[in-house]
């Protein structure tokens, strides 16, 4: 078609004509949208002036806006606005609000904190936040632990002790639970005998003949279990050796084992391989002394504090 066809009505064309008859519609944006666009440009201009923006040479436009914060000498410092200074100030403001609480907590012994309902309200909320972030990964959100992996903090059985001082020490230093493997030192029959004896100490089902044999081994120089677990089998909290006389199990899932052979197998694998994975990291340095104190009281109050 050589003839240019006019578009009679509707949208306007741009006026361009290619190859004789190709035209382009022109659909302008709505006015409100255009003005909105201009407003964003104006906003950007204001933003460039107020906040850090354009790079120039070896620096950048810092903006006219400033922020004042307190430095570590306690003096006020003013710097151009930036998020790090804003965070510093926010943390300082929050610290000021929390200071009365933390001051009372740092001055009071844990035994008194527990008796103060108002302070305990703070400990329960702040402690829960700290516990969920730092402890729940292993000890689970409610502190019930994980049999075979991590100790239960809600019962009254404590590997390293359940007094305030002992709990604080555990949190600060971390712990390295260790029991040597006996796979090479003892025969399979000896280990099974020991397993029956260990089960008998907790009142679990066991074979009495084997348990008697195991008892002799337990107290002998061959196996020497009593070195760490004590002659009474109650363990030592200073080295974290387990109390074998209660019915609380950490490494051997005896409660979950359905019958006697399965229970023996659970105890056997601990004696065979020992324990070399009871490692708890240290929280000193990661948390402040006040936070550790809050956590100590929180863990103590989970159920079994002494």
């Amino acid at each position: 078609m050589a003839e240019v066809q006019e578009i009679p009505k509707g949208p306007q064309t741009t006026g361009h004509v290619w190859d004789g008859d190709l035209q382009e519609y022109n659909n302008p944006l709505p006015q409100w949208w255009i003005y909105g666009f201009y407003v964003t440009i104006l906003f950007a201009l204001v933003y460039w002036v107020v906040y850090p923006s354009w790079p120039i040479g070896q620096g950048f436009l810092t903006g006219v806006n400033t922020i004042t914060y307190t430095n570590s000498q306690g003096q006020e410092e003013t710097w151009h606005w930036n998020t790090r200074a804003k965070l510093l100030r926010e943390m300082q403001e929050a610290a000021v609000q929390q200071r009365p609480w933390y001051e009372r907590i740092s001055q009071m012994p844990p035994e008194q904190i527990v008796k103060d309902p108002e302070l305990m309200g703070f400990v329960r909320s702040a402690g829960r936040a700290l516990f969920t972030d730092n402890c729940a990964g292993c000890h689970q959100a409610g502190g019930s632990g994980k049999i075979g992996h991590y100790p239960n903090l809600t019962d009254d059985d404590w590997i390293y002790g359940g007094t305030f001082d002992q709990i604080r020490e555990t949190i600060m230093q971390g712990r390295n639970g260790y029991m040597p493997p006996f796979a090479e030192a003892l025969s399979r029959a000896q280990i099974d005998a020991l397993a029956h004896y260990v089960l008998s100490m907790s009142g679990e089902p066991h074979d009495p003949a084997q348990a008697t044999e195991g008892k002799a081994l337990f107290h002998s120089h061959t196996a020497a279990c009593y070195y760490c677990h004590g002659a009474d089998g109650k363990g030592r909290q200073d080295i974290g050796s387990a109390n074998l006389t209660d019915r609380i199990w950490l490494w051997a899932d005896v409660p979950g084992a359905p019958d006697l052979p399965a229970k023996v197998a659970q105890v056997r694998q601990v004696i065979l391989g020992g324990v070399n994975r009871g490692n708890m990291p240290s929280w000193e340095g990661r948390l402040s002394p006040e936070q550790i104190k809050v956590l100590t009281v929180y863990v103590h109050q989970l159920g079994g504090g002494q």
């Binding site: 790079p55 950048f60 570590s72 998020t83 990964g137 990661r286």
Partner: protein, 248 residues
Amino acid sequence: MMFKFKHEALETNTGLLLVATMMAISIGGLVEIAPLFLIEDTTEKVEGVRPYTPLEQMGRDIYIREGCYTCHSQMVRPFRDEQLRYGHYSLAVESKYDHPFQWGSKRTGPDLARLGGKYSNEWHVQHLIAPRSVVPESVMPNYPWLMENRLDYADIGQRMRALRAVGVPYSINEEEYARNVKDFGPEMAAQLHIPNARESLLAQVRAGNYDGDPSFVSEMDALVAYLQVLGTMVDFSKIKPETLVKFR
């Protein structure tokens, strides 16, 4: 006579359109990338940041291979909630030896920039094999093969050479080794020496016992070694917070 700009001139001239398009695009690069090479205070002057040891570097490569970055960021932003949950905000200097960096913006899982030291090796092993066995609400997939796969570290030397080519100070000769002794101390310098890479890697596996099985060099060893070093290089107790403000 004044040059009068007509849109039609651009639309009807391919060469001119190409040149003008490239000019428009280059503005983005000039504004966003070029200044980083010029501004002096981009990376903070703090001590402690060092290249990864051969084992940590292998772990980092496994981290990337398994796509950990699709759900985990490594960038704690300077906000109060993030500082309370994850720890001190990330510094630019902390990822200066990361090629490519793992900052990310997708957080299906938590940020990992300050993960190092927070959990025990045993926890990491258990959690990587079966995340829900330790975190019941987790949606992370299981990675059981990390424990079973022998770590293929035959090419660790080449990997370090490649990183050295883009500016990571792994040493290849006595002169560079001496420089690293000065910068990172003799023990670390020995680990950063490319000719010793395999021996250093094996020594770290033996000493660290990351996966609980010292006799077998698994991919788990490497990954846990990497996770345990994340965010631990800078000692923030020695840095005044206002110093870092001045780098912004």
